[in-house]
């Protein structure tokens, strides 16, 4: 199968997220890392490819900044092609705008299976998998794992809350939002990525963008943080009651 993995980088949450005076993210001062779920999607794609000699994996990223390293890393891990969709894009590009560009490219390329992370830490205006599938009118499922290839279809497990899940069969072309790969995303050594940068090249393709609805963000702000637990004292009965109430409130009780 012709598999695409849509990857993007997101602010590294290890670092403090700094805001500009206008209440925007200070993207210029931040370090970016590949979105962890996209890493899972890439791993799942590579596993599928390894299990099926005829499959190819294309890693696709929109050039919103420094994405070359991320694409070379994907190549070093085993992807066949690294595609950078170029155009007038920047770090603050919304997911809706991204989805337009990605859907257009995927449609042109005619991928059978499109994988991406189930979500990313910055998808305020919707998750890529659903947005791209909606634009393509393709079969899709989010929060999935254990993907398997058929001849003109793929199967996967979609997870619901409370331990429920369903096995789905989707006709290709299909878009999947990957929750977790079958194994931890593989490590790739620094020198392997470096070698890839020397020996391979990325395909730069002009990204076709079209109008997408935008949200008006009034402000971004950190939640009021408490650096210490709210203490509930030492009374066993009271503590037990409080914990049960908390579970109830947070919907963590089994119904």
């Amino acid at each position: 199968m012709k598999i695409a993995v849509l990857i993007k980088d997101v602010p590294d949450l290890v670092e403090e997220l700094e805001l500009t005076e206008e209440g925007r993210l200070a993207v210029d001062d931040m370090s970016f890392v590949p979105s962890e779920w996209d890493d899972q999607a890439l791993e799942e794609a590579l596993i599928l490819k390894e299990g099926d000699a005829g499959s190819t994996v294309t890693a696709v990223a929109i050039d919103t900044g420094d994405v070359d390293n991320m694409l070379f890393t994907a190549l070093a891990k085993g992807a066949d092609r690294g595609v950078k969709l170029v155009g007038d894009f920047n770090r603050e590009m919304s997911n809706r705008a991204r989805a337009e560009v990605l859907a257009h490219y995927c449609h042109t390329e005619g991928f059978d299976l499109i994988l991406t992370g189930v979500q990313a830490i910055d998808d305020l205006d919707g998750q890529i998998a659903g947005l791209v599938a909606g634009r393509l009118g393709a079969a899709h499922a989010s929060v999935v794992r254990d993907v398997a290839l058929g001849s003109t279809s793929v199967t996967c497990i979609q997870e619901y809350s409370g331990g429920k899940m369903a096995e789905l069969r989707l006709t290709v072309p299909a878009v999947l939002g990957i929750q977790a790969a079958q194994k931890t995303p593989r490590y790739v050594t620094v020198s392997k990525v470096r070698q890839m940068q020397k020996s391979a090249s990325l395909e730069e393709i002009e990204g076709e963008s079209s109008e997408a609805p935008a949200l008006e963000i009034r402000r971004l702000y950190p939640p009021v943080a408490s650096s210490h637990a709210e203490m509930w004292g030492d009374d066993v009965e009271e503590l037990a009651d409080r914990i049960v109430n908390l579970l109830e409130e947070k919907k963590l009780l089994r119904s």
Partner: protein, 320 residues
């Protein structure tokens, strides 16, 4: 202005808690915006809970196509409902179904969308304003929403459900079969065996405070009652009371459960590294100065050997 529409989700013919919260919010927003609240439900066997929802109208989408959730079938049916009702706002839970439907519907209809909402309100200038959790909860985004069909997915538990009832008008429609997504089978995760602690949603984690291997039974019982798995800190493994597969921390597993109940764990840095990203951390330790309380959200200083049976009793009592 069109109605505020809540898209409902059922679990074993029961309305999910998250859906009830959506209805509550749809009703209050509709009142403030001067419009009506409506709901969409899927399935043929809707219960009284639906018939008595406190909304003006419930569209019930039934037929053999909707027996199990399949994205394309639900989307197509919903798209028709949206076209007909032209809602001002569409609310979905940020569940698997919500994530699937929300983004795809937004893309299909070209309406704006907002994910991960934790609050929705109408401000002084009658503008609809939402708050979303982004960047792993490190930031909140305050977003102004147009009332022209914006689709919002809401994080469950963001506000309480009111539980008021009403007599909605019911409209039945039948969903059409749409090829593309086929549900092969629906399964339940089998509990039991040696649970993978990295996958458990709730962890009952014990440390040195457990004192004796015989007390582990208390933790096992609690875990069973709460629907979680038992994990532990290193001393428990070093003592040979639990196998290494249960160990949380730098030399064990890194976990991110929905709830991490740390019992008798002081919180060595190696341990904290393995669990600090849990969504909710409740710690109970006799030493109120233990570092575990620096990462926990809620804490107590009771004796865990008393607390565990007390909790188990309450939880079992609820089940019956």
């Amino acid at each position: 202005m069109g109605p505020v529409l809540a898209v409902l989700e059922m679990n074993a013919n029961q309305l999910t808690d998250a859906s009830q919260e959506l209805v509550t919010k749809a009703k209050s927003l509709a009142d403030e915006l001067g419009t009506t609240a409506m709901a969409v439900a899927f399935g043929d066997e809707i219960g009284d809970a639906i018939r008595t929802l406190d909304v003006g109208k419930v569209v019930v989408i039934g037929g053999p196509a909707v027996t199990s959730y399949a994205s394309l079938v639900y989307e197509e049916a919903l798209e028709k409902v949206l076209a007909e009702l032209a809602p001002a706002l569409v609310l979905l839970a940020n569940s698997t179904m919500g994530m699937d439907l929300g983004a795809a519907l937004a893309a299909r209809t070209g309406k704006p969308m907002l994910a991960y909402a934790t609050a929705l309100a109408v401000d002084d200038s009658k503008q609809l304003v939402a708050t979303s959790q982004v960047y792993g909860g490190k930031l909140l985004a305050e977003v102004q929403l147009p009332t022209e069909g914006t689709i919002v997915t809401v994080i469950p538990g963001s506000w309480p459900a009111s539980g008021t009832s009403g007599t909605p008008q019911l409209e039945d429609i039948t969903a059409e079969m749409v090829p593309g997504v086929e549900v092969v089978r629906v399964m339940e995760e089998d509990s039991g065996a040696d649970v993978d602690i990295t996958r458990a949603e709730i962890l009952v984690s014990v440390g040195r405070g457990i004192q004796d291997p015989e007390n582990l039974e208390l933790a096992e019982e609690l875990a069973q009652a709460i629907g979680g798995a038992v994990s532990c800190s290193r001393p428990v493994v070093d003592a040979g009371w639990l196998s290494r597969s249960h160990q949380v921390g730098k030399s064990g597993k890194t976990v991110k459960p929905k709830l991490y109940l740390a019992l008798g764990i002081s919180g060595a840095p190696e341990h904290l590294q393995g669990m600090k990203d849990a969504e909710l951390i409740v710690a109970v330790n006799s030493d109120g100065k233990a570092p575990i309380f620096d990462v926990a959200h809620f804490g107590g200083t009771a004796d865990i050997l008393d607390l565990m049976p007390a909790l188990t009793e309450r939880l079992q009592g609820r089940g019956q």
